[in-house]
């Protein structure tokens, strides 16, 4: 029985099945179940928090009826509480897996912003045994969702004598229905279907069985294949249940950064966040998707805050625990810029991750210095007299490169290997590092919920956002340190799209996003401002080519 207020003695734990969550999809652990993440603090009792406060919010009476006691009044939130948040009813559709088409590429798992699509690989012999543990009535429904891919099955058979059975599963309590996974699947192995009662029952049961059958068999996971890292539980440092918009590019970026860091350091690292969308959707009381310690002070001081945490951790002998300082372009290009520069100049071992949406997303889309020329924002409104932002975009990566001995990368989630190499390179580097990540903001960019990956790719293809890695260890000349590998047609001005045989310029990028729509007349001709924006991007690209010794 679940009581509607106060403490409940008879109600099942929030980490167990409840009448509202009959198959216990809403629970801790991503690939396998886990208990609460307990800590020893006099002001925060994790079990009480989850059983009383989270319950209050999940049942709808928390905000009104919870007393302002020691935990509530301090706004402290334990790690991973977002695991208990139920999003089952926010979207009308959910992905369906088509195993016969799947290649096991892991793109869907990697690109989901909400940790709502998961992969697992088991040896065929173990798999057969595990299938016998599934209730008979559901065995066929569940077992036919496993795939014999070349990557795990054929190669596994050849190398290990036992093929790997591969499965993709949706967590229906965390999926927001954005269709990003379907869009990135090149093999037609996912499609969106309506959430009928039967679809939801099967989906909930499948996710439950997926968790019950234990972890992936590590012998099928190649540590050199970075895209496979999310098969391991320890990479799921960012759980589902964060409050970001459906399809938010930032969510994927944070998840992937957490996964890469988790793959090397488990949960032995921390985050210092600058106020912005990221802090809102990861700490909307009482839900926190992080399984590592996290703090937020202000919009403007995250790098300074991170310096303080680093000093204290070093005093405690925690030299080996990385600290990521995260924030949007507003926080890092603009209001926190001097603190950021100070951090680089300090030489301290703090890594900075910028969620570059080219706009102040959280407060409704004001221009930042990262905003592109011509972009329609709330502080550069496109009107009759002035067509969007008139200034040029500031390039924080180039500025950071000019600081003493600072590792710098610019990347996107759509360039998975480049992304992981950038983040792992930053972590390996003994000193300050900056990783700037292009991230879509669906409502402010004016793109559909499933477009984060596609638009990030186009941003790179069109030179709007070149990717780069600058590693001071690579030599004593800038051209030895700076690599533009990963950009298409790296020696040319523009990349030619093989599907249209036309060069892809900033104007083509602008055509695909609502934030630039007003720059095109009724015949589709671009404005003079947009021509300037194109020239700006070309000059920026030329500068990078020159620095990298390609020009």
């Amino acid at each position: 029985m679940i009581q509607t207020n106060g403490t409940s003695t008879k109600a099942p734990s929030m980490n167990e099945a409840t009448p509202k969550d009959p198959f216990n999809n809403n629970c801790y652990g991503t690939i396998v179940d886990s208990g609460y993440k307990l800590i020893s603090l006099p002001v925060l009792d994790v079990t009480d928090f989850n059983e009383r406060i989270i319950r209050g919010y999940e049942e709808g009476w928390g905000e009104r009826d919870l007393p302002a006691d020691l935990s509530v009044a301090r706004s402290l939130i334990p790690a991973g509480t977002a695991s208990l948040r139920d999003f089952s009813n926010i979207a009308p559709e959910i992905p369906e897996y088509i195993p016969e088409n799947c290649t096991g590429c892991m793109d869907c798992v990697t690109e989901c912003p909400d940790t709502a699509i998961l992969g697992k690989v088991l040896s065929e012999s173990e798999w057969s045994k595990k299938m016998q543990t599934i209730p008979e009535g559901d065995r066929e429904m569940f077992s036919k969702q496993w795939s014999k891919t070349k990557k795990y099955y054929d190669a596994g058979k050849k190398k290990l004598g036992d093929g790997g059975m591969f499965n993709i599963i949706i967590d229906p309590s965390k999926c927001k229905g954005c269709a990003e996974c379907v869009t990135v699947c090149d093999d037609d192995a996912l499609k969106m279907i309506p959430k009928t009662d039967q679809v939801m029952i099967d989906s909930r049961k499948s996710h439950r069985y997926f968790k019950n059958i234990g972890p992936s068999d590590n012998k099928y996971i190649n540590d050199n294949l970075l895209i496979d890292m999310m098969l391991k539980e320890e990479t799921h440092i960012y759980t589902g249940g964060a409050g970001s918009c459906a399809g938010c590019g930032e969510g994927t970026a944070l998840r992937m950064m957490c996964a890469a860091t988790g793959s090397k350091y488990g949960d032995q690292w921390g985050l210092v966040a600058a106020t912005g969308c990221n802090t809102v959707y990861t700490s909307t009381y009482p839900y926190n998707p992080y399984l590592v310690p996290w703090t937020n002070s202000l919009f403007e001081n995250a790098p300074a805050d991170a310096i303080g945490v680093r000093m204290r951790w070093d005093q405690m002998g925690w030299h080996d625990k990385p600290i990521w300082c995260i924030g949007g372009d507003g926080a890092m290009f603009d209001i926190g810029f001097q603190a950021l520069s100070r951090l680089f100049a300090s030489g301290m071992n703090v890594k900075v991750f910028v969620l570059d949406t080219q706009v102040y997303s959280n407060t409704g889309g004001q221009a930042s210095t990262s905003t592109y020329t011509g972009q329609n924002t709330k502080m550069s409104v496109h009107g009759k007299a002035v067509g969007g932002k008139q200034e040029r975009r500031k390039e924080i990566a180039q500025i950071a490169i000019m600081h003493p001995r600072t590792y710098v990368a610019q990347t996107t989630c759509a360039h998975v290997n480049h992304f992981y190499k950038s983040v792992l390179g930053a972590l390996e580097f003994d000193g300050p590092a900056l990783v700037v990540c292009y991230t879509t903001c669906q409502p402010e960019h004016g793109v559909a919920d499933n477009m984060a990956g596609e638009q990030a790719r186009l941003a790179v293809d069109s030179r709007a956002f070149p990717i780069l890695i600058y590693d001071p260890r690579k030599g004593d000349k800038v051209k030895e340190r700076l690599s533009l590998v990963g950009n298409p047609a790296v020696k040319d001005d523009w990349f030619v799209n093989p599907k249209t045989k036309e060069p892809v310029t900033f104007i083509d990028f602008a055509r695909s996003e609502g934030r630039f729509a007003k720059h095109f007349d009724k015949d589709g001709n671009p404005s003079e401002t947009l021509e300037r924006a194109k020239q700006d991007r070309l000059e920026n690209w030329h500068l990078l080519q020159e620095l990298a010794g390609l020009r």
Partner: protein
Amino acid sequence: MLNRKRRTALSAPKATHDYTPGEVVAAVEFVKRTRAELRTLRKVRVWKDKLHIIDVNKDYFEVRGLGYPDADVVPVLKQINTAFNPDTIHNPVDLDYKEFDTGRRHPWAEDRVM
């Protein structure tokens, strides 16, 4: 767990429309319907003599008899927010078809601040 099958070409269209020269309005009306009957649109493929409007599930509608050389292809592509360049759309190309994205939306509150 089924047998592996490599990705095949698109299956049959969900609906088709035969374009009659000069009757672009009918073609646009047909395409408007795709908004409701398809899911989130993904891509548009334009051949010399037909076009496909493809959604995220790779379901699609087909317009026959209208291709990239025709002037009337422009209003049809615009109707579904296709990101194409009107200066080059009619150019001949050494490819089976040209492919374009269609994911554009209005930015948030664009109508309220103007």
